[in-house]
């Protein structure tokens, strides 16, 4: 049984939502506000919305895409915004750039859409996140699986989704620990492929446990 040099410490993260006062009534407003809003807003409406709606596999998992569809009736734009996979971004600036680009391109193609009033305004909010350690720590894969079974989906989100913005960038905490501390790079790579968009966070947890099971004897 492989024993890690450094234990994996499970953290739980809880989020308070601050309403910024920025709001969009049209797609042109949305574009302007995405250009100017704080990083914490970009995070809240992309990374954090995945947690808030963790039980859904339908609908668009970022708030901008959902608003483009539900309030602006622009499904093509919604699909483009939703296709931006947060796993590919090492920082929020790059994600913001691509959100802006998707909107600019669409509004260039469909200029009439820019000033059409949305059914409901979009309210920009910021996530204020507090992370606290849980009692669960792991030095072996078996202990890791045991911990993962017991922590909440907020912990799964913190380590598997939000972790990609923390050093080391674009990798989730689980895969990083498997590779660096247990020498299980293949397992880490397989876990990193789990689709956070087509799974609930509970589904992500189950997939990780399934992927890890064959390696327990390693």
């Amino acid at each position: 049984m492989r024993v890690a040099i450094a234990p994996f410490e499970f953290f739980a993260a809880a989020t308070l939502v601050r309403i910024t006062g920025q709001r969009a009534h049209t797609l042109a407003d949305l574009l302007e506000n995405i250009r100017n809003c704080a990083d914490a807003s970009v995070f809240n409406h992309t990374f954090q919305s995945l947690q808030q709606h963790h039980f859904l596999t339908e609908g668009f998992s970022n708030d901008f895409a959902q608003w483009a569809l539900a309030s602006c009736n622009e499904p093509r734009l919604a699909e483009r915004l939703a296709s931006l996979d947060i796993r590919h971004y090492a920082n929020l600036a790059a994600l913001r750039t691509d959100l802006v680009h998707a909107l600019e391109t669409y509004l260039h193609e469909v200029p009439n859409a820019a000033q059409r009033k949305a059914f409901e305004p979009f309210y920009f909010c910021e996530a204020v996140t507090v992370a606290v350690p849980t009692p669960w720590q792991a030095r072996t894969l078996a202990e890791f699986c045991e911990g993962l079974r017991h922590v909440s989906i907020h912990t799964v989100h913190y380590h598997f989704v939000a972790a990609r913005l923390r050093e080391p960038l674009t990798v989730n905490d689980f895969s990083f620990w498997f590779e660096e501390s247990l020498g299980l790079k293949d397992l880490g790579d397989r876990i990193d492929l789990i689709d956070i968009y087509t799974n609930t966070l509970e589904g992500v947890r189950q997939h990780i446990l399934e992927e890890a099971t064959p390696w327990l004897a390693a």
Binding site: A12, A14, R18, F55, E58, Y123, C125
Partner: protein, 416 residues
């Protein structure tokens, strides 16, 4: 005029006061996380202040929240301001005006408000680390703020997005002196120079209105009201108020009924002591005519278990409000895994995400169509109900509320 600040018993015998009681609802991991957050605040003190110890949603929430804050290690006190009838007449008028109603304030209204606020200030101290003032009635207590930080926040439970300017301008001499304002929905906000945080209202899953019920009790409740348990039941639970549009619900039911067999239950109270309520009830009865499948139930305020049973027995829950605050009856229905057809007003769209946690409608015809759609597609209705339940578990339970307060206190005190 006499006034004093009283401290209500936060938890009466037999009521829930321990976080561990929620293990079965939110799971041990969530309970553990709340305790981990609370540990960082151990020994800190909180004072909650509102204007009533019983009755109304705020008192209901505080009755659960205060013991839970104490249970997780904070020292929590609940104070209630008091005043004469004249004070509460003024604050009721303020309340309506903040919702946008026209208001010709009598010249003495603001003086009276300030005078009672001064009396309440003299009767109590505010030396807790965190002071949370609920709603406009006690808003002027911020005058007690002194140089020692405690942190002061104003929890505004009402929609002040389009207030009567006279009353809002009056409140603005107090509101900016707080550290933060807590609102129920982003669309309830006003531009303010201080932080505004999103604090959803919440339900208690262990209260009589939301607890699990024996099938036998539900069956007997239907029997008592002569409702057929074998046929689809549409239910709207609301007081008889024009803004809840009970006549519109009846019209939607009648349209849907042309295609799908169903019964309608309109359950609510507030008609006996409210002249307009009585009028609205009469209008609903007239609209219902002699249809034996429309059940208009005027229930007394102590009917929580009956309302719970009616919601649980429903095939679809309707909330066809023309205007709405947050709409906790929607939250209750979602928690019971019911497919909900609701108007896209107030805080309802935060709860009913169209086609994901329920369906939204904008008219009588739309409501009727969505009812037909869900009656024809029970598997979709079931999925919406399941999603709605999870949405409530994540966002709108008393445990989520507790967690938000802990996060707020950590954030305000720099411990985040």
């Amino acid at each position: 005029m006499a006034s004093s600040l009283t401290t209500p018993a936060a938890s009466t015998p037999g009521k829930v006061a321990s976080l561990e009681d929620y293990f079965s609802v939110v799971g041990p991991s969530e309970v553990g996380e709340i305790r981990a957050l609370a540990n960082r605040l151990a020994g800190r003190s909180v004072k909650m202040v509102n204007s009533t110890a019983v009755g109304g949603g705020v008192a209901e929430i505080l009755n659960r929240l205060v013991p839970l804050l104490s249970d997780v290690g904070l020292s929590c006190e609940w104070g209630v301001i008091t005043g004469g009838n004249d004070f509460f007449e003024v604050t009721k008028a303020f309340h309506n005006a903040l919702h946008g109603a026209p208001y010709d304030a009598p010249s003495q209204a603001f003086e009276l408000f300030l005078s009672y606020s001064e009396q309440n200030l003299r009767h109590h101290s505010f030396d807790a680390d965190f002071v949370v003032i609920h709603d406009p009635q006690p808003v002027a207590l911020i005058k007690a703020r002194n140089s020692r930080p405690p942190h002061w926040v104003w929890r505004c439970h009402i929609d002040v997005s389009n207030p009567n300017p006279l009353v809002w301008d009056f409140l603005m001499q107090f509101v900016p002196r707080y550290d933060a304002v807590l609102v129920s929905s982003p669309n309830f906000t006003r531009p303010l120079p201080i932080s505004q945080y999103l604090f959803f209202p919440c339900i208690d899953p262990l209260s009589q209105k939301n607890q699990e019920l024996e099938a036998d009790f539900i069956r007997k409740t239907l029997e008592r009201f002569s409702i057929d348990p074998k046929r689809p039941i549409l239910t709207q639970v609301s007081r008889f108020d024009r803004l809840k549009d009970p006549v519109g619900v009846i019209q939607a039911y009648k349209l849907a009924r042309k295609y799908k067999d169903c019964q309608l239950v309109l359950a609510g109270g507030g008609a006996a002591d409210d002249p307009e309520g009585g009028q609205v009830l009469s209008e609903a009865r007239e609209a219902a005519g002699d249809d034996p499948d429309i059940h208009i139930l005027e229930l007394p305020p102590w009917s929580a278990l009956e309302i719970n049973a009616l919601q649980r027995a429903s095939t679809i829950v309707v909330q066809k409000s023309l205007r709405e605050g947050f709409g906790l009856t929607v939250t209750e229905a979602l928690w019971k895994k019911k497919p909900v057809v609701a108007s896209a007003v107030g805080g309802i769209p935060l709860q009913v995400i169209h086609k994901l946690t329920g369906v939204l409608a904008h008219s009588v015809e739309g409501t009727a169509y969505q009812i037909r759609f869900l009656l024809s597609n029970p598997s979709i209705a079931e999925r919406l109900g399941e999603n709605g339940h999870e949405h409530v578990r994540e966002n709108f339970l008393i445990t989520s509320n507790l967690k938000r307060y802990l996060l707020l206190f950590l954030t305000l005190s720099g411990g985040a």
